[in-house]
Symmetry: C2
Subunit: 340 residues, 2 copies
């Protein structure tokens, strides 16, 4: 993958940014979050913990709960409320994944069969509803209307974003602004909420809440842009999902938006045939990647991600230097340089 | 329909119970609820109000929000909070209907094409999520953790009930207890929550909250039992849904549970073939109804509903006589005697 190699060169001798520092910093808290998740997924209806633990245990990177944990600690919070609230964030994320996989008709997530592939769409819809309700139950137990407001608003925006994506799917002429609106809603809003909650539990001033929300929102945008790039450039074994999924689904992500805008008539016909008509042939995916490289759309998508990463970095300017802040800065670098 | 006629005879000369008294009593409040529903369904994503208004406007009986309105008034509440909270109850109900229709693969509800039939399963899942989130947003604006707790708990129980139903579907040996557990969770819990909220906004003692919850729970059980009877006995034009839907889906409802338990080996083979194997032939539905009449399972299902109705009636004993209480009592009679 030409793009990845050139990034490595650019970075020169600096060590590859990783999640290690952040993971070590919030490791103890995250273990408590994981325990609470397992405990609160329980239901006398056996299929619920079975199905939920499949997706929770499949273990994504737990980025969103880690954001709540690190934000709270960076804000000087010394209590334990952030544990349960980080679990709520993960429950909401998991519920949206379950519904997403139904909507996208996905069969593979993080290298494992999706819940809908194993247990069917019906169970995925209903267990998603359960986890969503459970998140609100746990928030009510915590008792903060401010937190409830943040996550109720985030959930509504996420659902709006998903519907918007459904309506604008398979349109090769999607503008960069429309793309941005969708990923803000469906991905970045929950990152932003996860961070903001950290300042809320620490009872920090509104300016710091806003700063953390700004960090999370822009980190989330960068994260999704890179996700969309990785769908074309990653190694299948590293990514843990099928490379080219977005292409096969006709999803118009940023690398496509830019390649289409920069392409000539013939290239645009290719994008419309493959992504709008979903008329795809054997060598179309490699051809799509070749066109993206020709137009520099993968490289420039990464450049766009760097821009949002820079905004996220500056948003942390309000906070004093310290281990948590350094970990949140490295998280931006990881988000952009990651290969999975 | 033999069953309905005999009930009419039983009632003799008393006027047929209706929703008219309750509707007149809470009519002004209900108009405000409907306005608020339309206002809060709004989203810049056009498909959301389109799809949501299809199902909201299809206008069921609005029983659940009416329960909140009448309960609050019976408790002497003089404010306006019950309007928004009644809307939340209806939003949650609508969200579950949208997801139900996806899970049940239904094409017709209240005589109209379902949202999933018109816009597809994906949109129904996501708009359901949106309405659910919107309900929590409106509750947060109201600001009562007690109400949030009631509806978050109810939502989790509803989802559990739906999963339980999914797991126990197509089992002709379902016990009456297992049937009851499912309908309590998926139907009666929201009736109970809707009523309890009325006492909460009126700041009445816990005993009155509990009494209203008991009324709602038992009314809800009676309501669902009668719904399941109507699926075999109603006139299609009156019911507004397809008679025999449950049979065709292989749903094991109370009339089936009783007919199976009382049936001989041949009858049980019939139920297993039609409901477990879903091997159904032309005259199987009329034959099923004939077996139910032979075993008295439709009539006795109505008797069971009367039992829950009687508990609901007694639960209102704590409250002083008045127009609201009389309307809530008549609602029990309507629930049992209704033909739609």
């Amino acid at each position: 993958m030409a793009v990845v190699v050139s990034l490595d060169e650019e970075r020169g001798k600096t060590p590859r940014p990783s999640l290690a520092v952040l993971s070590a910093l919030v490791g103890d808290d995250l273990r408590l979050v994981n325990e609470l998740i397992v405990r609160r997924m329980h239901s006398p209806v056996a299929l619920i913990p079975q199905l939920a633990s499949h997706i929770v245990a499949a273990g994504g990177k737990r980025l969103r709960p880690m954001l709540t944990l690190a934000s709270a600690r960076m804000c000087g919070y010394g209590g334990q409320r952030h544990i349960a609230l980080a679990a709520c964030v993960e429950f909401i994320h998991t519920a949206t994944l379950l519904h997403d996989d139904v909507v996208d008709e996905s069969n593979l997530r993080r290298g494992l069969a999706t819940a809908n592939a194993l247990w069917g769409n019906k169970a995925s819809v209903l267990v998603g509803d359960f986890l969503f309700s459970r998140a609100f139950q746990v928030m009510v137990e915590d008792g903060s209307l401010a937190v409830l407001s943040i996550l109720a608003n985030a959930s509504a925006v996420i659902a709006e974003g998903e519907v918007l994506q459904l309506m604008t799917a398979n349109d090769a002429e999607t503008s960069e602004a429309a793309y941005l609106e969708v990923i803000k809603a469906k991905t970045a809003t929950l990152f932003a909420a996860a961070c903001r909650i950290g300042a809320v539990v620490a009872e920090r001033p509104k300016a710091e809440e806003d700063a953390l929300e700004c960090y999370g929102l822009n980190l989330g945008i960068a994260f999704q842009v890179i996700d969309d790039v990785l769908d074309y450039t990653a190694q299948q074994s590293t990514l843990g999902k099928t490379v080219g999924d977005d292409f096969r689904d006709g999803k118009v992500t940023l690398p496509v938006v830019l390649a289409y805008l920069r392409g000539d008539d013939e290239e645009r016909r290719f994008w419309r045939r493959t992504l709008e008509d979903l008329d795809q042939r054997k060598d179309d995916l490699p051809h799509a990647i070749m066109l993206m490289e020709r137009q520099g759309s993968l490289r420039d998508s990464i450049e766009r991600a760097r821009h949002y990463g820079a905004i996220a970095r500056d948003a942390l300017g309000l906070f004093p230097d310290g281990a948590e802040k350094r970990a949140l800065v490295e998280l931006i670098d990881f988000t952009i340089a990651r290969t999975y």
